[in-house]
Amino acid sequence: MLFDINKVLGFHAKALNVRAEQSEVIANNLANVDTPGFKSRTLDFKEAMDVFTGKTLAMSGSHKKHFILENNNLPRNEIKYRTPDGAQLDGNTVDKDVETVAFAKNALDYQSSLTFLSASIKSMRSAIRGE
């Protein structure tokens, strides 16, 4: 193959997966905004991209009794806790304003990844048609 389609489209597709996971995390924070004792979470973008591109720390072994963790069995720790601004009486650390702004930013990032992907697809299409 002259070009690998994963290389052309791969990075933005993985970024879309990360953005989708981030919107899950934020939606969970917003759904639990009144739950006592709930601690709000956030996604670390760099670590999440490492998980989806397969660059997490795998262990290799040289002896048959070594434990080898495959890439898909590793504990994923890209979801971290957000530092709250102040303590609330019921132990909840979700800040409505921070979460809504983070959600709006995430939606915008998702749309920009979509636009890049779409532009790549369109340019491939016009190359195929020979325009």
């Binding site: 879309l16 997966n17 989708a20 996971e21 919107s23 899950e24 995390v25 934020i26 939606a27 969970n28 917003l30 759904a31 639990n32 905004v33 009144d34 739950t35 006592p36 709930f38 504990p75 994923r76 720790n77 890209e78 979801i79 409505k96 979460e99 809504t100 959600f103 709006a104 939606a107 998702y110 749309q111 979509l114 992907l117 779409s118 697809i121 369109k122 299409r125």
Partner: protein
């Protein structure tokens, strides 16, 4: 594509907040109903929320997170009583019992619940828009 899960998560949030609005409406409407004895007086009801248990061992969010309603707690604050001997429901000493519903607390609960409900609705509509754009990608 895990964006589908956001509908379930925000749906659970909307359900929880609308249950909170229902209990607030019940407390407000029964807040002035007097009765004969403390045992039959209306007591305010509040829902109990808890997050859906999500362990992070098998990868984040192995089951769909969100909020679940554990039950509805009945408040056991002591009931107020009023001296009103000519009331038809007065007991032998002339007292009637009124529910201990704090109207200000119920109104703030209503405002908070409706604001949280609005935020969950915004999340759902934004994600719906993103998914329809994803479907039209490349055209």
């Amino acid at each position: 594509m895990s964006l589908f899960k956001v509908f379930d998560i925000s749906g659970s949030g909307m359900r929880a907040q609308s249950l909170r609005l229902t209990t607030t409406a019940s407390n407000l409407s029964n807040g002035n109903v007097v009765s004969n004895s403390p045992a039959t007086t209306y007591r305010p009801r509040y829902p109990i929320f808890s997050p859906v248990n999500t362990d992070l061992e098998n990868g984040p969010f192995s089951e769909t997170p969100g909020v679940k309603v554990d039950g509805i707690s009945v408040s056991n604050r002591p009931v107020d009583r009023r001296y009103q001997p000519e009331h038809p429901l007065a007991d032998s000493e002339g007292y009637v019992y009124v529910p201990n519903v704090n109207m200000v607390e119920e109104m703030t609960n209503m405002i908070s619940a409706s604001r949280s409900y609005q935020m969950n609705v915004e999340v759902v509509s934004t994600v719906k828009d993103l998914m329809s754009r994803t479907l039209q990608m490349g055209t």
